[in-house]
Structure formats: C-alpha cells, structure tokens
C-alpha cells in the first residue's frame, strides 16, 4: 500500500464512519466501505505504534549517549 499520511487516513476514516453513521449508505457499498475503514484503522494504529517505538528509541538513544561522556 502506498504511504498515506495519518491525518489524511484519519480524515478518510472519519468520512467513512460518518457516512456509515448516516443512513444514506448503500448496502452494496457498506462492505467495501467497512473494509476500507478497517484498513485505514490498521494503518493508523501501525503509524501510532511505530511513532511510539521511534520516540522511545530516540529518547533511549539520547539517554544512552549522555552516559558516554
């Protein structure tokens, strides 16, 4: 999957959810939309987890670097 920005992904997700929340969605589209939303959720979750790990790595790296001198 091509890299999508988190904020864009969240926006898209919200659009889909509000569409689903509304009554106007076509049943034919529902499954596809839900699938897309779940994919977006996964992407967002991965991004958050990756960011968390990156931050931890950076901060740990900083703390480790400090003890060198």
């Amino acid at each position: 999957m091509t890299e999508i920005k988190y904020s864009k992904a969240i926006k898209k997700l919200d659009e889909i959810i509000s569409k689903i929340e509304g009554e106007e969605i076509d049943v034919d589209e529902l499954a596809d939309n839900v699938k897309e939303a779940v994919d977006l959720l996964k992407v967002c979750k991965n991004k958050i987890e990756k960011a968390q790990m990156d931050v931890k790595k950076v901060v740990d790296g900083f703390s480790a670097g400090e003890s060198d001198d």
Binding site: I17, V38, I48, A51, V55, F62
Partner: protein, 438 residues
C-alpha cells in the same frame, strides 16, 4: 705684657697659653664632618667640623680637628660598642669631646679629639630620617609607588644592586631556586656612600625605560646604620615615586627600614626575602590559576550535568507527551473501531428489519386481498351455482344437443330420425326424433 716686638713663635706661644687658660678642661663640640676621607692611610686623622646654615646649607663656621693615632683605636672601639652603627666619614653629624689646642707650627687652632658620643649621631640620623619621612609622607611621595598595581607575574625584573655582591648572589640564587623563568636585568649601581642616591635614581630612571620589565628591585646586604643611611634619601624616594613600575626593596638586614623601603611598593628585610616575595607572587598566581582552572572545570561539569539532567527530563517529557498524544489517538481509533464493528451490523439489521417489515406488510396485504377476492369468488360461485344448467337440470330442465354438440333450441333443428343427446341432472339420454312439433 712686653710691648717690644714679638717673634711668631712667641706670639703663638702666648695664644696657646691664653687658649689653654680659656679652655682649662675639654669641651663637647658638635658639627658635621668634612674632609675626613683624605686621611685614609695616615696614622693621625685630620679633618674639620663645620656648621651649616639650616636653610641655605652654606657653611657658617668651621674648625680643624685631629684624632691622634693613640686615640684612634679608642674612638673606633667606642663606635663598635655602639652596635657598629656608623663610622666616621664626611657629612655626618658628630659630637666629640675635645681639647681646644693651638698648634704653633701652623698658627692654627685645632681640637684634639678625646672621645665621641655615638648616641648624638644616631639621634641626629634618626631625627633627620623622621623629618624626611614626615615630609615625604605629607607630600604623598611614600604612597605613590604603592598605588601601582602589583604585577600578576613579575618575571621580568630590573635589578638595582652592586653586581656580584653578596646581595646580588643571594637574590639571584633565591630566584633560581624557585625554578620559575625569571629574567633579571641588573644595573650595576653604587650601593654605599655619598654617590648612592644619585646613582640609584639614575638606575631607576634607566630601568623604567625598558618596556619589557614588570618591576624594579633595589637590594643590598646589611651594614651599619650609617652605611644604610644613604638609602634614607629624599631623591631616591622621589625617584621611586616617579617610576612607572612597581619598585620592590630589600635593603640591609633585620632591623633596618630605610626611606627607600618606605617609598617602595613593597619592602622586605633582606635580598633573599624580597626574592622570596617575588617567587611567592608567581607561585600565588600559578596556584590561583590552577584553582581557577579547577573552578572552571568543576563549574562546567556541574553545568553540563544539570543541563544533561534537564535534557533528560525534556526527553522524558517528550516521550510522555508523545505517549499521551499517541494514546489519545489510540483511544480515538479504538472508538472508531467500535463504531465500525457495531454500525454496519446495526445498519444491515435495520435493512433486514425493513425488508422483513415490507414482506410482512405485503403478506398481510395479500391475505386481505386474497380474502376479499375469495369472498368475491364465493359470491360469483353462488351466482354461478344459481345460474348453473346443472341446477336447472335438477329442477327438471334438460339440455338437448345434436350429436355434433349443437344446442337444440328449435324443433327445426331436429328433423325426425335425427339422433339427439338429452342431458338430464344425472346423465345423458340418447334418443331418436320421431316427429317434429309442427
């Protein structure tokens, strides 16, 4: 007195007698020594005492004195007993006990020195010194050099002393002992006697013109009070006051403090002591330098440590903040996930319900309609039944057809002999027409 002509010796004899009568015992006489130095190698010492005008310093009176060789030893011993404070020489004030005498061969009055009062000279020297000190203090001469800033590292020194003297060697060897890189520029200077003040002044002037020097040192070894009295000099004090460099002095030994010392920036008692003072300055500077380096290093370490801690805390804050931020997003996503999980099913259920409702409505509707239709049909049936030929047959009517099925409505249709079928309520009768009606 015989009025006849006198010979010179007769006159001188008379004068001598008169004088001897006038001064039957000795007298105490005070004055300033002059012409003493010409007597160096002679057994008897001839010189003069004079009295100067206190203001103009012009000689107002003078008289010749002699110390005979037999008395010389006694006088020298007396001086020695007075702590070797001074020796007889020109320009010093002395108090002698002497006999007034007339020496006929020279026709001159002379005083034969019998004794000396060293206390008088010491007092005079001290008095003169105090007067000078008061004067120089009052006009600020003694303080001027002290106001100069002490050089931080006085390594380049102008030295005023007699070259290769004990003082020179003491001073230099003490500097060398320190191991510091002192550079000494020695100006060989007269350090004893009348010429001293002018030469010292000249030396100060010359050395002060050397740009590289940090300070000037005036030093000489110990001596009698009279030896060192040349350093109780107004012009040396003024030379020091005018000097652009700090002047340090170490003159004499324990007890002597000269005006030169007082005018100097700093004085120590001996050449060795002034050298130690200078090495102490350098050492102090190096120590303070080391302390400062240590302080800078410690301060820097402390600062780095605290900054590091601050950064560490910042990093933790960043981590926590980010974590909070990401956690919020996690919750946001979880909420969306819930929505996604629930909503489509709800939606589909709703759709299903809607469909079922439609179906139910349809079924109900159909049932009603079917019933209505049924009713209608039943009615029709009843009517049909009423109108049905079978019922008519039962009531006794019958239907007659030709064999080809044609209904026989008229007699004309059935000629005699033709075969007909007559339908009654419970079956058919085959018959043959025997005759017509008309």
């Amino acid at each position: 007195m015989d009025t006849s002509v006198l010979t010179v010796s007769q006159l001188n004899g008379y004068i001598k007698d008169v004088l001897n009568m006038g001064f039957p015992s000795g007298i105490w006489l005070c004055g300033e020594i002059q012409g003493y130095n010409r007597n160096r190698d002679k057994s008897h010492v001839f010189f003069e005492l004079c009295e100067k005008d206190p203001i103009t310093k012009d000689i107002m009176a003078r008289i010749g004195l002699v110390i005979f060789s037999g008395r010389k030893m006694f006088i020298e011993q007396t001086l020695k007993n007075a702590e070797n404070a001074f020796t007889l020489k020109d320009d010093i004030e002395v108090k002698f006990f002497c006999k007034v005498d007339f020496y006929p061969p020279h026709g001159a009055v002379r005083l034969i020195v019998e004794n000396i009062d060293p206390v008088y000279t010491l007092g005079k020297i001290a008095q003169e010194k105090q007067r000078l000190i008061a004067l120089l203090k009052e006009n600020g001469t003694l303080d001027k050099n002290k106001k100069l800033e002490l050089p931080l590292v006085p390594l380049n020194l102008g030295l005023i002393t007699s070259h290769d003297s004990a003082a020179y060697n003491d001073f230099i060897s003490e500097l060398q002992l320190s191991g510091y890189g002192f550079k000494v520029f020695c100006r060989n200077t007269v350090m004893q006697g009348k010429a001293t003040p002018a030469d010292v002044c000249q030396a100060i002037f010359e050395l002060s013109r050397i740009p590289a020097l940090d300070a000037i040192v005036i030093t000489r070894g110990g001596g009698s009070i009279a030896d060192l009295s040349c350093f109780d000099s107004q012009i040396i004090a003024e030379g020091i006051a005018a000097c652009r460099l700090p002047v340090f002095s170490g003159i004499g030994h324990e007890i002597n403090i000269t005006i030169t010392d007082l005018a100097a920036h700093t004085y120590q008692k001996t050449p060795t002591a002034i050298a130690q003072f200078l090495t102490g300055l350098v050492k102090g500077f190096l120590t303070s330098l080391e302390e400062r380096v240590v302080a800078v290093v410690d301060g820097t370490k402390e600062k780095l440590k605290s900054e590091n801690n601050r950064l560490k805390n910042c990093a933790l804050d960043v981590q926590n903040g980010t974590n909070d931020f990401l956690k919020q997003h996690h919750l946001l996503l979880a909420a969306r996930q819930e929505q996604l999980k629930e909503r489509p099913l709800t939606l589909l259920n709703k759709a299903l319900v809607r469909i079922e409702a439609g179906r139910d409505a349809l079924v109900k509707d159909l049932r009603v309609r079917f019933k209505a239709e049924d009713e209608k049909l039943k009615n029709f049936n009843r009517l049909l039944e009423l109108a049905s030929p079978l019922n008519t047959l039962k009531r006794g009517f019958s239907i007659t057809r030709l064999f080809d099925g044609t209904l026989v409505r008229s007699t004309k249709q059935a000629k005699p002999g033709s075969k007909i079928l007559t339908e009654v309520s419970d079956g058919q009768l085959k018959a043959t027409v025997e005759g017509g009606g008309k």
